[in-house]
């Protein structure tokens, strides 16, 4: 039974390779097999996961320490070189204000990653909290919390974000994160509720109750660890879309504002007055960086979902 899920179809090569390395394999077989170790086993062998994970690792590194690969300052601009094309010292050329596009693209990762990660954390915490309380307590609380979820679910993200953000003039990362988190949690809450209801019906939850565990303990120790996988999958997938959403909002002029360096801000500036028709590089590089980042997160989400959902094995 423990080995049921370990071998994907068509893994004869793996099997013969294993036979040759029996000596080292015994150690791994002795280790406890759980959903997580199985998932990790699958993920390490998935090229899409490896590729997207490396890319994301790189993006996280440059958003933490952009000076590693960009020596200039993103706000040091020379108007005299406005819209100058790519050259040897300035691979991505200059934008309208005469700022180095390469430096700005590198520094822009920070805002995008920060918004994506923080908004996802917020959404996951809020969604998991609301969903698991609704699922665990059921009855009146379920009805109340589910209807609140439905109300928020009905608000279109972009529209809601425009309404809230246009009321704030000084927009850094935090207002954008808060608005995305406040509007983006309903899908996660629904998934968490379903997962908690499923986990709650397990005999071991009733057994733990019969042995005197409190509600808090039941929820945190016995239900959550068995219900968290779908929440993690969903969170990984929405992370990419939140990065795109930040760019969308910045492009529409309600997201991040110029002193903050971000891809969305740069894309927005590039399309002002159709500047990019004469100098396509000012649009191309931030847009490409954005696309690659979103793609990396969505691929990661896909790979994680494949690994954590036993039905897809």
């Amino acid at each position: 039974m423990p080995d049921r899920n370990s071998e994907p179809l068509g893994a004869q090569e793996d099997a013969s390779a294993k036979a040759l390395t029996v000596g080292t394999a015994t150690e791994a077989e002795g280790a406890p097999r759980s959903l997580w170790t199985d998932a990790w086993h699958d993920l390490r062998r998935n090229p899409i996961f490896v590729l997207s994970a490396l890319l994301i690792l790189f993006l996280v590194l440059i958003s933490l320490w952009p000076s590693l690969i960009a020596s200039r300052s993103p706000v040091h601009c020379e108007l005299g070189r406005s819209l100058e094309g790519p050259s040897a010292g300035h691979w991505f050329g200059f934008d309208t204000q005469g700022c180095d596009v390469y430096t700005r693209t590198v520094y822009g990762a920070r805002a995008s990653i920060a918004v994506g990660v923080c908004a996802t954390l917020g959404v996951a915490l809020l969604g998991a909290l609301v969903g698991s309380l609704a699922g665990f307590f059921g009855g009146f609380w379920d009805t109340l919390l589910s209807r609140v979820t439905d109300v928020f679910f009905g608000i279109p993200m972009v529209l809601g974000a425009i309404v809230f953000l246009s009321m704030i003039t000084l927009r850094g990362i935090w207002p954008v994160v808060l608005v995305i988190a406040a509007l983006g949690w309903p899908p996660i809450a629904r998934i968490a509720r379903g997962a908690v209801i499923t986990a709650k019906q397990n005999d071991y939850v009733q057994a733990a109750r019969a042995l005197g565990a409190s509600n808090t303990r039941l929820l945190l120790r016995h239900i959550m660890p068995n219900a968290i996988a779908p929440v993690i999958v969903m969170a990984t997938i929405v992370l990419g879309t939140f990065i795109a959403l930040e760019a969308t909002l910045s492009y529409l002029g309600v997201g991040l504002r110029p002193p903050t360096v971000s891809w969305g801000v740069d894309i927005s500036a590039a399309s002002d007055g159709m500047q990019f028709r004469n100098a396509p590089h000012i649009l191309l590089y931030p847009a490409a960086a954005l696309s690659i980042t979103v793609l990396a997160f969505i691929m990661l989400g896909d790979a994680v979902r494949d690994a954590l959902d036993p039905r897809l094995r």
Binding site: S34, R209, A210, L211, S214
Partner: protein, 325 residues
Amino acid sequence: MLLEVRDLRVEFQTRDGLVQAVNGVSYTVEAGETLAVLGESGSGKSVTAQAVMGIIDSPPGRIAGGEVRFQGRDLLTMRAEERRRVRGDRIAMIFQDALSALNPVLTVGFQLGEMFRVHRGASRAEARARAIELMERVRIPAAKERVNDYPHQFSGGMRQRIMIAMALALEPELIIADEPTTALDVTVQAQVMDLLDELQREYRMGLILITHDLGVVAGVADQIAVMYAGRIVETAPVHELYRRPAHPYTKGLLESIPRLDHKGGELRAIRGLPPNLARIPAGCPYHPRCPLARDVCRENPRPPLYEVGPGRASACHFWKETMGE
């Protein structure tokens, strides 16, 4: 008197209407005594136990009436927090399928230790030491090495021993075992029952053994309560019940046990099916299946529990005939 259940009623609200799973069940358990609750699936035996434990899911379940007195105090009127502290500490439960009753993502050591952490505020290290001690007491070999293993790494019999260890952890006064051996194969069943029996004697606990297996009951029980359609139809000391059943249903159950000395003969099954609990027949609920049924059985009120001997009762109008044959 350790436990006294009096006129307990449990209902479930379902799509088919109100289901009366338990209809006025009364029984008592003394310290050191084993009460076997016998019945088919859906007879209400497990629901009664869940009501005593206070783990009925509500909604849809609801305790509609009655009393559950544990050492003189009514559990049903106790505050939720107080009741939680009784669970596991004073009254513990052994579940049928240990694989599904143990949390797959936690080690058995953690789950055993949890009892001490929840109820006694023990430290992690202390809880671990007590967990190993418990595993040794239920004779799990190499307890020290296995304390960090996960439930699926144990065999069925070993898992059931771990369930028993969890129930015994805080030396409760009463243990409810809900079909503790049903999921095990026959040789392991005997070992697990012997262990349970031995530990019960050692600690002088009261034991409620819920089962549908007449073979399991004979060896360990003192008193038997036979349930049918949410009611107790017969109670008797174990040997008297086997020798001279006082209810046609009990008689039917005993006759349906396959016997080696009746080789070649037909197995005598009870005809028909247990009633739908949303539509329990009027009068005696067993009358549609009963060979003795007469008009009086089909009419309300249902037969009361007649006193048929010392410590014996039967809910059959014709208990004399049933016993007399």
